[in-house]
Symmetry: C2
Subunit: 211 residues, 2 copies
DNA sequence: AGCATAACTGGAGTATTCTCCGGATACAAC
DNA sequence: GTTGTATCCGGAGAATACTCCAGTTATGCT
């Protein structure tokens, strides 16, 4: 009995190709960890992985996608913390609380991966959006917003709330403007306060954490 | 009687250098208009301007700054429409109305210059922020926000309201997601509605323009 | 006018991303 | 096992952003 391929699905990846992919990602991650994200060229990655540079491009298409593959490797845990994990990030808490918790968690992730993210978001202008994780965050945010404000344009607002966490702006605020991380989170709170019925009259930090 | 240079100011630009700068910007603008922004290499610009490529880099530092120079050339009018122009964009209208008008005008500008802006915002990650116009928009927005919500973090919120109008996101929404321009503006209205006391309870378009 | 010097010029050179395609190879069918 | 073929491999090559520096020129001072 032979298993049939899903109609229209992509052809399965050959075993050697899959192994090469893993080797490339691992080599890239190690080089980045050792020399910093900017100092690592595609040729070096290819050599360290023991493959030709053509293979790297065949697997990943461009530099941005390779870097995203490294990032995804690091944050698989975060990716389902807000889907399956415990409240307030995961299901169980009110949507407004989940929204806030999600943005804070995303700020923490951006802080942790900032250099890698900046590198990934350079390159093609749509690099950030075509990556699977952006779509995931967008869907999640749109779902929460849809519950909080049924009449609003959740798809637009999801993009608009993700935009201030673009790595280039985030890093500019943190490094050049010198804003502490807590101030960024408090600013995000102020931004969403207006979108949450019942909170829009106060400028106080609802959690009492201060900045 | 000799005129003294302002202490600490940059040395004045030599006459031939100023002429070369104008020739470079003009050549770049013409090449971009003819072949599209992506098809223009720095070497071509240099040749068309009749200078060496080293001169282009001496004047502008990198590709992003050259493109911003071309953009600035095109929108000098817009730059003071919201500073000296008539209401609701310029002074005279309530701050909340000016805020809304400004974001709409900025959306129109982003629409008009989208390809150029995308090109300019590629390159160094902080390309967008170090350009003079970003600082101008940021100051203006922070000033308006400071009047509307004295207690809020105007500097952060100004960045956050500029973020959804980053060219790469804007173009992705317009072209890939297929959002009409009016929907972007309506979404921005929804975003700021929460920041403006008294408007935060309605999802209606306050202007009645629809989308 | 002549001179000293700081600024400018331009093109060869470097580094890097990404493309292309002839040859090798894994996998399926028999 | 053998064979056919779709997929994959890898390095040479093209394109291009940016650097460097030896020679030139504008500018201010005397």
């Amino acid at each position: 009995m032979r298993e049939l391929r899903v109609v229209g699905g992509p052809p399965p990846e050959r075993a050697d190709a899959a192994q090469n992919r893993r080797r490339i990602v691992r080599a890239a991650a190690e080089l980045i960890a050792r020399h910093g994200p900017e100092a690592v060229s595609m040729d070096e990655v290819a050599r360290a992985a023991g493959v030709g540079v053509g293979t790297v491009y065949r697997r990943f298409g461009d530099r941005a996608r390779l870097v995203y593959a490294v990032i995804d490797d690091r944050e698989r845990g975060f990716q389902d913390a807000f889907i399956h994990g415990p409240p307030p990030l995961g299901p169980g808490a009110p949507a407004a609380e989940r929204l806030r918790a999600f943005l804070h968690a995303l700020a923490d992730r951006t802080e942790a991966q900032a250099d890698l993210l900046v590198m990934a978001e350079s390159g093609p202008p749509d690099a950030r959006f075509r990556d699977g994780s952006y779509a995931l965050y967008h869907r999640h945010l749109a779902m929460l917003l849809g519950r909080i404000r049924p009449g609003a344009d959740a798809a637009y607002l999801a993009d608009a709330l993700l935009a201030p966490l673009a790595a280039n702006l985030f890093l500019y605020q943190r490094r050049t403007r010198g804003m502490p991380l807590g101030r960024v989170k408090a600013g995000l709170d102020a931004l969403i306060a207006g979108l949450i019925p019942g909170l829009n009259r106060t400028d106080h930090d609802p959690s009492g954490e201060g900045l």
